[in-house]
Structure formats: structure tokens, C-alpha cells
């Protein structure tokens, strides 16, 4: 029996039910198929997520439900702004019925996140342009959470580079969490789930399925620039495939490890083609490792990486 630590996924449970279902703020609805007067109610929903976000109040713990089958396109870096704190955006529906948000027109198209405590759940995000630099661009946005979302290309040579790109202000993206998401993209322009450009505390990636094309030796979960700390990192139970043939750093790369890093990387299942020098993270990172299994051989089970302490 293994308990699933949900402590940083931003949706604690009580008696088996997520407590965000107990809503103390206002509730607004979104449905692109609606053609009438938009008021944000169930029967008169807004037609865009941004329209609903604009109805919310910061600090009010408002919830936006996006109806199954909803579809909208985002063509600029200003069309959808997640700029109201404490809003939860929850898609309804299963499989291809889930709401779909398609980013197109330019590789600078993005969804800015400029407020704290925003949750996005159960939405499909389509990349419909080559090398869209970042699906989400975080400015001052602590505790941003992506849960049960799918990130995918609309077709060949249409891809996201990174899913979340933080800005350069230290600790502005603390508590960033990505859980139970799926990102499959064979494009060689694919980057990482997180491009972290600043110190960050509490970065969490749990139970994600990530299968990316080879882009140099970029890591699948995060890339961290020189001189930046990642404290209390929590990366567990992800399945990651990236068929790098040499110098693979499969989960996280730090440009230097002279910084103060803490946290754990555990129970991840990793696949590469590097048979000699594969790593889970950059050497010397100070992160604690437990039971990560890596394989670079077809038909062979993963082996413990890094090797066990004694």
C-alpha cells in the first residue's frame, strides 16, 4: 500500500471528496456553444474563460466551471489573462469532451498568470503553432496549480516549448504544482514542464505522464538557470520518456549546483536511450533520491538510478 501525498496539489480531500467543492465564493459558467446574453450563470454562461475570470473577485475563492465540449482559441498573449487571485477553473467532461483551449497564430501566444492561488483542472490545451514558447507565463503567481490537464500538439510541427515559464523574480512562482497531467509531443522543439528562471520554493510534479521529443539534453520536468535555488522540490511518481542518446539528465537540470536545493525526487519511471551517462538530475544537486527507475534498453526493466547509498 502506498499513500499518495496530495499535500501540495492544492486540492485536499475530506471523507473522499475534494473540499474545493465546498465553495464559499461565487460560481460562474463558461460554454462556447451558448449564443445568448452572457451573465456567467449556468443557463446564461460566458463564452470565454477570460469573460468569466473578469467576473471574479480577488480573494473571494470564486469558481469557474467550463462546460464539456467548450472550445476556444487563444491567439495572443493578452486574450486570456489569469489575473484574479484565488480563482479555480474546472473543466467538465471526459476524454475528448473535456474543454479545449487552443493556442494559435504566433509562437508568442501564451496565457499570462499574474495572480496567486489559481487552479486549472481537467482542460485540454492544444498547441496550434510551431514552438509556442510557453503555455502559461507566470509573473507574480504563487501556488499556481495544473491538475489533470492534457497538453498536446494540434498536428505535426505544432508544439509547446514549455508548459510553464516563470519570470526572473525570485519566489514569485513558489508553490507551483503540476499533477496528474499528460504531455505527449514528439516535436524536437519541446522543452520542459517548467522553465524556471528564478528561485522557487515548493515546486511540485506528481503523477504526470510525459513523453517528449529529444531537444538536445533538456530535462522533461524542469530547467533551472545558473544561480537559482529550488527548495522543497517534490517530484514523485512521474512517467517520463525522452530518448536522449547521450548525457541524458532526465528529470531536472540545474545550470549550476552551487546553490541551495532541497527536496526529493522519488518513484519516477524514466526511459532514455543513454546507456552510459544517464542521470536523474544534474549531479551534485543535493536533492534526495528514492526508488527512481531508469531504463535505456527495450524489453528491460528499469534499474535504480542513482545507485543506492549504503
Amino acid at each position: 500500500m502506498f499513500y499518495a501525498p496530495y499535500v501540495t496539489v492544492e486540492e485536499p480531500f475530506v471523507k473522499g471528496a475534494p473540499i474545493f467543492d465546498m465553495i464559499d465564493g461565487n460560481v460562474y459558467w463558461v460554454d462556447s456553444a451558448y449564443g445568448g446574453n452572457q451573465r456567467g450563470t449556468f443557463s446564461s454562461p460566458m463564452t470565454t474563460i477570460d469573460g468569466a475570470v473578469n467576473l471574479c473577485s480577488a480573494g473571494n475563492n470564486d469558481h469557474i466551471f467550463v462546460k464539456a465540449g467548450h472550445a476556444e482559441s487563444i491567439s495572443t498573449a493578452t486574450a486570456l489573462n489569469l489575473d484574479i487571485a484565488d480563482v479555480a477553473i474546472i473543466g467538465l467532461g471526459n476524454g475528448t469532451d473535456r474543454p479545449t483551449v487552443t493556442l494559435d497564430t504566433a509562437n508568442t501566444t501564451t496565457i499570462p498568470v499574474t495572480a496567486a492561488n489559481i487552479l486549472v483542472k481537467n482542460i485540454i490545451f492544444n498547441a496550434n503553432f510551431l514552438n509556442i514558447a510557453a503555455l502559461f507565463s507566470l509573473t507574480t503567481a504563487k501556488h499556481f496549480a495544473l491538475v489533470e490537464c492534457q497538453f498536446k500538439p494540434a498536428g505535426a510541427s505544432l508544439n509547446f516549448v514549455d508548459i510553464v515559464d516563470t519570470n526572473t523574480t525570485d519566489n514569485a512562482a513558489d508553490g507551483l504544482a503540476i499533477a496528474r497531467c499528460n504531455w505527449v509531443d514528439s516535436a524536437t522543439g519541446s522543452g520542459s514542464l517548467v522553465d524556471s528562471d528564478a528561485d522557487i520554493d515548493g515546486l511540485t510534479a506528481l503523477d504526470n505522464y510525459v513523453n517528449l521529443g529529444v531537444n538536445g539534453v533538456l530535462s522533461a520536468v524542469a530547467e533551472v538557470p545558473a544561480g537559482k535555488d529550488t527548495t522543497n522540490i517534490n517530484v514523485q511518481r512521474n512517467t517520463i520518456t525522452r530518448l536522449v542518446t547521450a548525457s541524458a539528465v532526465q528529470v531536472i537540470t540545474w545550470a549550476d549546483t552551487t546553490t541551495t536545493n532541497t527536496g526529493l525526487c522519488a518513484d519516477n519511471e524514466l526511459r532514455t536511450l543513454d546507456t552510459a551517462g544517464e542521470l536523474v538530475t544534474t549531479a551534485g544537486s543535493n536533492v534526495s533520491f528514492y526508488n527512481n527507475k531508469s531504463s535505456s534498453v527495450a524489453g528491460a526493466g528499469g534499474y535504480l538510478l542513482p545507485a543506492a547509498d549504503s
Binding site: 500500500m1 502506498f2 499513500y3 499518495a4 501525498p5 496530495y6 499535500v7 501540495t8 492544492e10 486540492e11 485536499p12 475530506v14 471523507k15 473540499i19 474545493f20 465546498m22 465553495i23 464559499d24 465564493g25 461565487n26 460560481v27 450563470t41 480573494g59 473571494n60 475563492n61 487571485a85 484565488d86 479555480a88 496567486a116 492561488n117 487552479l119 504563487k142 501556488h143 496549480a145 508553490g175 522543497n232 517534490n234 532541497t262 526529493l264 522519488a266 549531479a283 551534485g284 544537486s285 543535493n286 534526495s288 533520491f289 528514492y290 526508488n291 527512481n292 535504480l304 538510478l305 542513482p306 545507485a307 543506492a308 547509498d309 549504503s310
Partner: protein, 311 residues
């Protein structure tokens, strides 16, 4: 936006858009909001009280009442009497995510929440130590206190927790004490452990917690048990514990003596230390059952099975 109120619930169920919904809360519900609440309010959603204690005082023993704390609520705990959980069966649930979760700030070394009633739950809070050496967030003398999804942090340098729960006085009064899915960050060297146990206790549970503490001698991160005290049916599972003790590390739980009757399990824990020679998970000879615990004291090494496997 208007909202309908069904103060008596719909105990037989209701059809909403042809979906049967059942009212599963058999007790009363009260609301707390420091922003819009008042001591004289009814405690209803549109008339919340201002403090958790005011809401508790509206509850009824063993009625399975629920108190919802609105997102953004903030409250200061200045002593050990202003918030007292003295009504049995009350569940206190904070709403909101990240920094909008309700925040309780402990502003004196003796600030604490006494829990004198049984079956009380606190869920989804941020609890902040804002004074040097705050002795304990909770002082339970009631059975089955559950604390889940709570972040314990501090207000700055030299403002710190010592313990999260201090259990004293009477054997078995605090049986069933549980910490679940909590975060405990405290680098101060006065920090001791999640639970300071000075009595016999049954069913102490700490699971799925992330604990990163400063070094205080060789104190264990999860539990310290006083001499002559039994811990039966202890359940320590799936915690991450980091404390960079360099020698004689006992990472999860210390018993001052193990001549007592201990039972239970420590499993699926991951721990980090700097002790490369004598590290233990628990005091030797404790009679606890160990399974699948991994420990490391080296950079770039995976945790190894500790203690070594039976055969």
C-alpha cells in the same frame, strides 16, 4: 448572485437536474470569516462569526457539526485559551488554496490550541509560528484529534515551532492523534518534532507528511517518546523527513527506553540525514515493524533500505 438556503437540508435526497443529491452532513454547519464575521452573528453562510472559537461554541457535543472557514480568514492565537476545541465531533475545514487558505498565527511561546474533546479535525490551514519557541500548536487531551492538509511555517528568523503537538498528563487521553498530508518547515535549531509524547498512546498516526527540520541534538523528526511510555499501533507511513544530523541520527521516532510495549508500523518513509555510519529510523529494539523505508545520507545516491531486510 443570490443563493438559496436549505437550513434543514434534504435528508431524503433531492433531484437536481435529474441527479439525486443526498445531504451527507448529519450535524449543523457554521461559518467563520474574519473579514465579514462578527461575534454576535448566527454563524450561517451569510452571517458568519469572526473566530473559530465563536463557531465551536455554537456546536453541540457529538453532533458531527462542521465549521467552514472562509478563504482568506486570518486569526491570531495569542495564548492557550482563546481557541479551545472543547466540543466533541467537530470538523473544522479551511477553504481556499495556497496563500488564501485560512491562517492562524501563534504570537506567544505559550500560544496553543488545547483540544480537550474527542474526534476533532482541523483541515486545510496555514499555521504560522510568530514568536520564539512556540511550544506546541496543539495540546490534545481528547482522543482522535486529526490534523490534515496543514502547512506549519514560521514568521521569520527565530520565530519557530518547537513541536506541533505536545501530549502530556494522562495515559491514552490522546489516542488516535493523527497528522496527515501536512507540511512542516522549520530550520530553527530549537525545533523538536511533530509530536512530543509524554504519555502512553495508541494509534498515533503520521502519514504523507513533508517534514524538513533544523538539527536539535539527535532529536527525531516525527516523534519523541518519554521514558516508560508505550506507543501501540503506531502508524508512520509515506513521510518525507529531512534532518541533517551528522551522527547518531534516529530519523523518525525516539523512545527514551524500549523496555515498554510498542507495536505498529513504519513503512514507505523516505528520509535524509548526514549520518553516514550509525543512522537509524527508530530507536533500536522498539518492536516496531519496518517495511520499505529508504534512507540516504549522500548527495547523488538513492536511498537504501533501512533497516536492512529480514531474510
Amino acid at each position: 448572485m443570490s443563493i438559496s438556503s436549505y437550513p434543514s437540508g434534504f435528508r431524503g435526497g433531492a433531484l437536481i437536474k435529474e441527479t439525486a443529491l443526498y445531504d451527507t452532513i448529519d450535524g449543523n454547519v457554521y461559518w467563520v470569516d474574519s473579514g465579514s464575521g462578527g461575534a454576535g452573528n448566527s454563524g450561517q453562510f451569510l452571517s458568519p462569526v469572526a473566530t473559530i472559537d465563536q463557531a465551536i461554541n455554537k456546536c453541540t457535543n457529538n453532533n458531527n457539526d462542521i465549521i467552514y472557514i472562509k478563504a482568506g480568514h486570518a486569526e491570531t492565537i495569542a495564548d492557550a485559551t482563546s481557541l479551545v476545541a472543547d466540543i466533541a465531533g467537530v470538523t473544522i475545514i479551511g477553504l481556499g488554496r495556497g496563500t488564501s487558505r485560512p491562517t492562524l498565527t501563534f504570537s506567544a511561546a505559550a500560544s496553543s490550541i488545547p483540544v480537550s474533546a474527542a474526534n476533532v479535525t482541523f483541515q486545510n490551514f496555514v499555521m504560522t509560528a510568530n514568536f520564539a519557541d512556540v511550544a506546541a500548536a496543539f495540546t490534545p487531551t481528547g482522543k482522535n484529534l486529526t490534523v490534515s492538509d496543514v502547512v506549519f511555517n514560521n514568521g521569520g528568523t527565530n520565530l519557530n515551532w518547537v513541536n506541533l503537538a505536545a501530549v502530556a498528563t494522562t495515559d491514552n487521553n490522546a489516542d488516535g492523534l493523527t497528522f496527515s498530508r501536512c507540511h512542516f518547515f522549520e530550520i530553527d535549531t530549537a525545533v523538536e518534532a511533530v509530536a512530543d509524547i509524554d504519555v502512553d498512546i495508541d494509534g498515533l498516526t503520521i502519514e504523507d507528511c513533508y517534514v524538513d527540520l533544523g538539527i536539535n541534538g539527535v532529536l527525531s523528526s516525527l516523534v519523541e517518546v518519554a521514558a516508560g511510555k508505550d506507543t501501540t499501533n503506531i502508524d508512520l507511513r509515506a513521510n518525507y523527513v529531512s534532518r541533517l544530523v551528522t551522527a547518531s541520527a534516529v530519523q523518525l521516532i525516539t523512545w527514551v527506553d524500549t523496555t515498554t510495549t510498542n507495536t505498529g508500523i513504519a513503512a514507505w518513509n523516505r528520509s535524509r540525514t548526514l549520518d553516514i555510519a550509525g543512522e537509524l529510523l527508530a530507536t533500536a529494539g522498539s518492536n516496531t515493524h519496518f517495511a520499505n523505508n529508504l534512507s540516504t545520507s549522500a548527495i547523488d545516491k538513492s536511498g537504501y533500505s533501512l533497516p536492512t531486510a529480514d531474510s
